[in-house]
């Protein structure tokens, strides 16, 4: 995938590993497992204890390194929408429509090709990212790159006519990186979803909107007593009352 960008590249190809970013949970688990094994090895002594200690020590090293690893990864999702390519491009490329299918991101236009993305306010930290459209060809592709140090990301969305009269295929490929530390951990906990899931659900919502005219929802539907576990799971299944539930209005292309 070649992305045309007129911003100085902030990272080379090699810096993006194939492994997904480590979450804080994984790092803590690795440290705990390493500590337990190392402790067990010291307690046991002997050659077997030594082996356990060595394994524990390695896991501790991995855990510490995981905490220091910058939050980075890449996402590739594709989706087929049963509408004509120019219609899909027209709808998806209009910033005024983005709020209708991407609920994780609010957009402010800063000029012809510059935008400020706001990723909501998880844990009270306001994540904003300045983004510039670096390449755009109507009906074909849109490429963007971020313009700040805090959260670096770049990607391209391609539009292709699907075979057999099935509409349009959309291919989203993006790469992202944030430096190590609490900001990266905070990003990893963003609305409980990984960047891959944000992209996948956004594409799904775009498809639902363009094909069926609405995004299916079960927010604030009737239910009985949830209990403690049930109340916690409400968030997972997105049943809490939310502002988005009210905004299902008539849409472009309907």
């Amino acid at each position: 995938m070649t992305i045309t960008t007129n911003l100085a590249p902030k990272y080379g190809e090699k810096e993006f590993s194939q492994r997904p970013a480590t979450s804080a949970h994984e790092a803590v688990f690795t440290l705990a497992a390493g500590g337990a094994l190392a402790g067990l090895g010291i307690w046991r002594r002997g050659w077997f204890g030594g082996a356990l200690g060595a394994a524990g020590g390695y896991l501790l090293y991995c855990g510490v390194r995981d905490f220091q690893r910058p939050y980075q990864g890449r996402v590739r999702i594709s989706c087929t929408i049963g509408k004509d390519r120019m219609e899909v491009y027209g709808f998806a490329s209009n910033p005024q429509n983005w709020g209708k299918f991407t609920h994780a991101i609010q957009v402010e236009s800063r000029g012809d090709r510059a935008f400020a993305f706001s990723l909501g306010k998880p844990a009270g930290i306001d994540f904003r990212s300045n983004v510039e459209i670096t390449d755009q060809l109507a009906g074909e592709h849109i490429a963007w790159a971020s313009a700040d140090q805090l959260l670096e990301h770049r990607g391209v969305i391609r539009f292709k006519t699907a075979l057999g009269n099935r509409g349009t295929e959309i291919f989203v490929a993006l790469e992202y990186k944030a430096p190590a530390g609490p900001i990266a951990r905070g990003l990893a906990a963003l609305v409980g979803w990984s960047p891959e899931q944000v992209v996948r659900e956004s594409l799904r919502h775009l498809k639902q909107l363009m094909e069926a005219g609405e995004i299916p929802t079960t927010t604030s539907q009737p239910s009985g007593a949830r209990g403690i576990r049930g109340a916690a799971k409400r968030i997972l299944f997105r049943e809490g009352p939310s502002e988005q539930a009210v905004e299902q209005t008539r849409l472009a292309g309907d």
Binding site: G167, R204, K207, T218, S220, A225, R229, G230, R238
Partner: protein, 395 residues
């Protein structure tokens, strides 16, 4: 309103919950007049289906009167009496347009859960776990029906509720199971399971041209009901070897088509059963494929295995070598409801079939929790339970 809510394994209760409201422009709200308990609801009752949460409203076989419609609902009007299919379909995606309605792309808000398990998500269902959408179900006094113009089937005057209620699930399910057998006339069809779906499968197979239908179960009242439709019956607890018995009955050939109308909660004895039960007990498996193994073993070479019975997860010890060696054809899946509802309504109107034959218990919503147990344990010769959500218990 009152609704039957799942509160845990074998724990269903009637609770006061909020009335449903219009959430999307194509929604309608139904005042439910009749609703039924399905055999697949028992899988929820027994705790075999994952992603259920306490408080979920159950029920996916319901019908009623439209009381409110959203701004984009054009065909269905307030006051219409409608039957609602248990699958929710958008009508606009590739799958809906190609008559694969239960594979709809656009109705499951929790599609990511089913995708994790199955690779791709199908249509959402009413009242059947969060993996299938988490929609509130129809064992209640009101229900919200998304994509009302696509889903609702209007019922003309002169037809009782009880005659048309089963167009919401079990009649089209039995019919599709029989249609999947690709009957050309003159075949022998064997059907495992004489529950409500099995009963409709028997009648549909005969409607579609099967020469002989062999119905298999262990409960005499269910076998009797199947025989009343013209099936030959086998009580499998009274035969030594069911596969051999079928071979004997069919001149050594085996049935031309075999239908598994039992699904994941199959009962049986023997070593295989012990293995399946223990795996399920430790949650190493969702399903007990006892019947599926027999079906695959019994079917004739080149025959069709049709599976309306619900399965959820990974199966174990399946004679796939037998299936390959005999060149079996497998057809299965959630019913493509919208294909069948109108044609089957016409059959009911023509008097070809009266679906209310299958009802054995008519109760109020308050008696629902007890009814689940009665239905599951087949007590009191129970075959099908229909609930009236507005019927109050006698003082």
């Amino acid at each position: 309103m009152k609704a039957l809510c799942w509160q845990g394994k074998t724990n269903v209760s009637v609770e006061r919950v909020n009335d449903p409201s219009i959430l999307n422009p194509r929604d309608a709200i139904l005042r439910i007049t009749r609703t039924a308990i399905c055999g697949s609801d028992l899988h929820l009752y027994d705790g075999y289906i994952p992603t259920m949460e306490p408080g979920d409203v159950l029920g996916h076989e319901f019908m009623g009167e439209v009381v409110e419609t959203g701004p984009e609902v054009k065909r269905v009007k307030k006051g219409d009496r409608v039957v609602v299919p248990f699958t929710i379909s958008c009508g606009q995606c590739f799958f809906c347009k190609n008559q694969m309605w239960s594979a709809c792309d656009n109705t499951n808000p929790n599609a990511w859960i089913m995708e994790k398990m199955y690779g791709y998500s199908g249509a959402a269902l009413y009242g059947y776990s969060h993996m299938m959408g988490g929609y509130a179900g129809g064992q209640a006094q009101y229900a919200r029906v998304p994509f009302a113009d696509i889903g609702c089937l209007e019922i003309p005057e002169g037809l009782d509720d009880e005659k048309v209620l089963f167009l919401s699930d079990i009649f089209p399910t039995g019919y599709m199971a029989a249609e999947n057998c690709d009957l050309k006339g003159g075949e022998v069809v064997a059907i495992w399971g004489c529950g409500p779906v099995g009963q409709f499968t028997v009648r549909s197979a005969l409607m579609l041209g099967a020469e002989r239908v062999i119905a298999i179960d262990r409960f005499s009242e269910r076998l009797k009901m199947a025989r009343a439709a013209g099936a030959e019956i086998i009580n499998y607890e009274e035969v030594d070897n069911l596969v051999e018995e079928l071979k004997w009955m069919t001149g050594g050939r085996g049935p031309d088509a075999c239908i598994d109308a039992v699904g994941l909660e199959a009962h049986g004895g023997g070593v295989a059963a012990a293995y399946d039960y223990s795996k399920q007990r430790v949650k190493a498996s969702f399903d007990r494929p006892l019947v599926l193994r027999q079906v695959m073993q019994a079917c004739r070479k080149g025959g069709v295995v049709s599976i309306p019975g619900v399965y959820g997860g990974m199966l174990d010890k399946i004679p796939f070598g037998a299936a390959f060696g005999k060149g079996l054809i497998f057809k299965m899946g959630q019913t493509h409801m919208h294909r069948y509802m109108r044609p089957l309504l016409r059959r009911v109107q023509n008097g070809e079939i009266d679906p209310s034959f299958v009802i054995t218990h008519r109760l109020g919503l308050d008696e629902g929790p007890g009814a689940y147990k009665t239905f599951r344990d087949k007590q009191d010769e129970c075959i099908k339970v229909v609930l009236d959500p507005w019927k109050t218990a006698a003082a």
